[in-house]
Symmetry: none
């Protein structure tokens, strides 16, 4: 696999990364040759083939104008990182962050399902041991079992992190902070966005 590139291969790859988008169609080997100052497409083909074997260029099996860069999903700068979606504070919508960010999450703090990370604002869950500033790991889901702690959207605008209790025709959200009271809603007022599966806090 990850063979070391020769100097020329690196040059050609750099050129492709920088100029490939400029071609209206993916270029032919001949066009690339003139662009690179070569006069033999056979030579260029050999170099391209090396890049394909290195996984940097998508293989083009006899297809015309088939030179494309390989999708670089192979980049794994952080193996187990989850997206940091924003901040959650009781009574307000989730405050999304614009710039994409990720947070490292150990395997045992997440599930095999799709998960994401929020940061807690305020102390509405302080008696559950979830404090201002904590990072919480949420499994994306639209339903919950009684007793689970859920990220719920109430009336389409207020996000909360609370323990859920679902009865016939009613949904009760229990805060863990004794200075706040449980609230009862009708099921169509409450939209579950995920359930709490992990929590992290730093002290330094």
């Amino acid at each position: 696999m990850a063979l070391a590139l020769t100097r020329r291969q690196q040059e050609i790859y750099d050129y492709l990364k920088e100029h490939l988008w400029e071609f209206p169609h993916p270029p032919t080997l001949d066009e690339l040759c003139t662009a690179l100052g070569l006069s033999s497409k056979g030579s260029l083909h050999k170099q391209i083939q090396a890049l394909i074997e290195a996984g940097l260029v998508a293989p083009m099996n006899n297809r015309r104008r088939g030179i494309r860069l390989a999708e670089e999903d192979a980049e794994l700068p952080d193996e187990n990182a989850l997206p940091m979606m924003g901040y959650i504070a009781a009574g307000r919508p989730i405050e999304a962050i614009d710039h994409q960010e990720t947070v490292q999450v150990p395997d045992f703090l997440r599930t095999s399902k799709s998960c994401y990370v929020l940061q807690v604002r305020g102390g509405s869950m302080i008696e559950e041991g979830i404090m201002d500033g904590d990072h919480i790991v949420i499994e994306q889901r639209d339903s919950a079992r009684n007793g689970e702690i859920v990220v719920a959207l109430v009336d389409g605008s207020e996000a909360t992190l609370k323990r859920i209790e679902q009865k016939q025709g009613a949904v009760i959200l229990h805060p863990a902070n004794s200075t706040m009271e449980a609230m009862t809603y009708s099921p169509d007022q409450v939209q579950i966005q995920g359930i709490l599966v992990g929590q992290m806090r730093r002290y330094h």
Copy 2:
């Protein structure tokens, strides 16, 4: 194997460690010669060969521009894992586990110093948001600043996780659970084993 390096070999190895990354491509022997002030690539080759036999440089079998430092990244399994040392419960010694175990810890929950992981038993820190079963990350240290949460060994036998306050001739350990009281000790009764830098909890 570990042959003793001559002075010149050590010099060359040090130079490679420091400057090899500066070359856009691995350098040729001639380039290295001018960089090192030599005029014969044959001489340099002999030195490099010695470094290869010492296992410090990756062998380059006739390959061009093949000079690379030997990779010694044998730590693939669990890049960021810390040792799980055992269980801590207020009032008892730390209960070590016999079989070696590790826990994944994200970078931002640890420090650059030596760290390890304990699991909490009991609720002595419940008002600090540290609950029964939580994993805590400890930085190994034998002193602390006031206000930090420390793993302390009292009278050589009782381990606790408490907020520390150090005065003239006295050490006060504050539990965060209001049903328990702060205790005052003399400094030689209290041995600091580390300070709390991170905490993790799973809900599933």
